[in-house]
């Protein structure tokens, strides 16, 4: 007797969960989570920090100096870098990236400027660790 009463909320929960997963998968084109590896962005970003990144902004406008961005390593494109934009050459369409720890960073000083089109993701916020969670940069 109790089974039918329980199964309706159960089905609703399952459908809801499936819907949430589908929505999350769709949203991943604009919004994603990423974990930081390496120390070249210290003290701003530390290894193990988890970030919310979004790709909507750079569809509307070009990156600006001071923003934190994700970019493919030009020497090893399957590796995704997180760096700060230090300068943008609007005429050339070239971005210069730098680590916040310049003494311990491989960046545009080593591999040169990147085409603006290569940079699609912007760092929006940090959600982990909770003590340092908040909007970035």
């Amino acid at each position: 007797m109790t089974t039918p009463r329980l199964s309706i909320p159960l089905i609703a929960t399952l459908v809801g969960a499936a819907g949430a997963l589908a929505a999350a998968a769709a949203a991943r084109r604009w919004l994603d989570a990423a974990e930081v590896r390496g120390r070249s962005m210290a003290p701003t970003l530390l290894p193990g920090d988890r970030l919310i990144v979004e790709s909507a902004t750079f569809q509307r406008r070009q990156p600006r100096a001071g923003e934190l961005v994700l970019a493919p390593d030009p020497r090893e494109p399957q590796r995704e870098l997180v760096k700060r934009v230090v300068a943008i050459d609007a005429e050339e369409g070239a971005l210069h990236l730098r680590g916040d720890a310049p003494g311990a960073s491989t960046d545009s000083r080593a591999f040169g400027a990147l085409p603006v089109a290569a940079v699609r993701w912007r760092v929006l916020a940090r959600y982990w660790p909770p003590a340092r969670a908040g909007l970035l940069p």
């Binding site: 989570a33 990423a34 974990e35 590896r37 210290a42 970003l45 988890r50 994700l70 982990w128």
Partner: protein
Amino acid sequence: MSLITRLLRPHRIVDAHCDIPCGIYDPEQARIEAESCLRIIEKHDASDDKLFRARCIHVKEERAELVKHHLDVLWHDYFKPEHLDQFPALHETFWNATKQASKVKQTLDVAAAKELLAMIDTIDEMWKGTGGPGKTRVSGRPS
């Protein structure tokens, strides 16, 4: 708890990457190996012992190879494109110095070994001129 942690863990890894985390450079490293080459050539020339002379040649070739290696590391990793503005002859200087190290590896020419030292000293000036001692060595070593 571990399941929740795993679910929260992003699959996407972004690299705050650095090729050379240590960032320690000094042409002194190449110079010490080059000084070894010079001294070994002098010892070789002063000896009549066939075996000792053979050992000299062998060790000198190893040391000369290390000179090339240390110069290459400075060239690839320490010097940056902006240093070229300050020292336009940078590439040529390194090319000539590494070629000179090859010459020291191949020959028993004292003059060639001395010339190599002079070339490393030119690179040392570039390293000092670009702030190398302050940026790429750990301070506090007794002088």
